[in-house]
Symmetry: C2
Subunit: 244 residues, 2 copies
């Protein structure tokens, strides 16, 4: 068994490039850390290679590269990672389902990951990300999804292009605002096909997106508080509308 | 006007110690970054000193120390901080109010900050943190609260000691579980004084805490998803019970 101990190893150098978006896009691959995420990638048939220290070999029927812990650490931005990393193929984008979360320029990786986790929890089937939303294959996003990335259809698109298509196909589009619109509790969602748009953490939904919404939802809050965290407000709305 | 440009300056060295919990506890002070948070600290009468580059002097009637941007950066864990930092006195713990969020060993600073922000949004008046919960004056917690830290009473206590006192005082204590208990939508909270306990991200509520709960709440989710993020589930429960 060969164990790679050099940070100059060419294969390791290639793999470590996947920490950058540019290379993830180029090679259609990304990295996951932890036994849990490697297992989820395997179950989703997307695991291409396992990189691990010898004693943590999970024995998948997949190419396995053994490395020292120091080398493994080079492949992650975590300070004390678990002793396994998966090289994973990006998921194929599928057809838009009926319950759609639409993200308009979400920038915080933790928020994006949490919203993906909550979308699975509340029975949404598709997440559409505006093309300026943070990369879904960013390591911090992956961690925050807690493996739920593999359980939902995600699509990256220009919202100005995709929203008119959805509307033509009879999707009802809810926008969100800090004030204005209908309060969440009074929304009686009887649409089989609908989308909920959550906007950027600082600026909310873009005007061009806003003009394509059928109705606006807002969550009443104490006036001492300017706004809710975007991951929180999106999750509360999905909680309310997900199973109606 | 003196502008400190040396990282070896004794005053700057003293202030930078406040990045560590040990010194925050010792000196009863903590640091906040950004104009917004400095302003909130000032309004709360807790701002003790401003540290800023000369051109960003907000002209408070408070001791102000001028520094170069390189020196200022030493006082934060942010990569590109705003050009102002506040040295702030820790808030006094007040009497427990009527609507209480109780955190049992929350470890993620982002979760704690978000829960504090949501607790203000949903009209809670007190947050009790178990003594093993992450430090509320951790810079990442402060940032995630978006200034809401100054708008709510926070108390750090051993839950095994404080819960029996609350129960004797007729507080109704809701626990949370991933499964089991009553579903959130069926809870009819008619208690004037109540507390909601949110547990640790990986392990939930401790057994010793659990045994002191009057009733358990759970949020039904898709079985594909193991659990919700602790900040999300806590916020959804506060959203439902906060104004009832």
């Amino acid at each position: 068994m060969e164990i790679i101990t050099s940070l100059d190893n060419n294969h390791i150098k290639e793999i470590s490039k996947l920490l950058q978006k540019k290379y993830r896009d180029e090679q259609n691959l990304f990295l996951v850390e932890s036994y849990h995420l490697v297992e989820e990638a395997y179950k989703a048939n997307l695991l291409k290679e396992v990189i691990c220290v010898p004693e943590s070999d999970p024995s998948y029927d997949i190419k396995t590269t053994y490395v020292s812990y120091d080398v493994l650490k080079k492949l992650t931005d975590t300070v004390t990672p678990q002793k396994i990393i998966g090289v994973v193929e990006k998921k194929k984008e599928e057809q838009v389902g009926n319950k759609v979360l639409i993200l308009d320029n979400i920038q915080d990786p933790g928020n994006l990951g949490t919203l993906i986790r909550s979308s699975v929890a509340f029975n949404f089937d598709t997440v559409i990300l505006s093309d300026d939303t943070v990369d879904i294959y960013n390591p911090k996003v992956i961690r925050s999804t807690e493996g739920m990335l593999f359980k939902i259809n995600t699509i990256r698109k220009n919202l100005e292009e995709v929203l008119p298509i959805l509307k033509e196909d009879n999707y009802y589009i809810y926008g969100t605002k800090v004030t204005g619109g209908k309060t969440l509790k009074t929304i009686n969602n009887n649409h089989d096909k609908f989308g909920i748009i959550i906007g950027n953490e600082g600026n909310g939904i873009k005007d061009t997106t806003s003009s394509l919404c059928d109705e606006f939802i807002y969550i009443p809050i104490n006036k001492e508080c300017e706004s809710l965290n975007a991951g929180i407000s999106g999750s509360i709305i999905m909680y309310e509308l997900g199973d109606k």
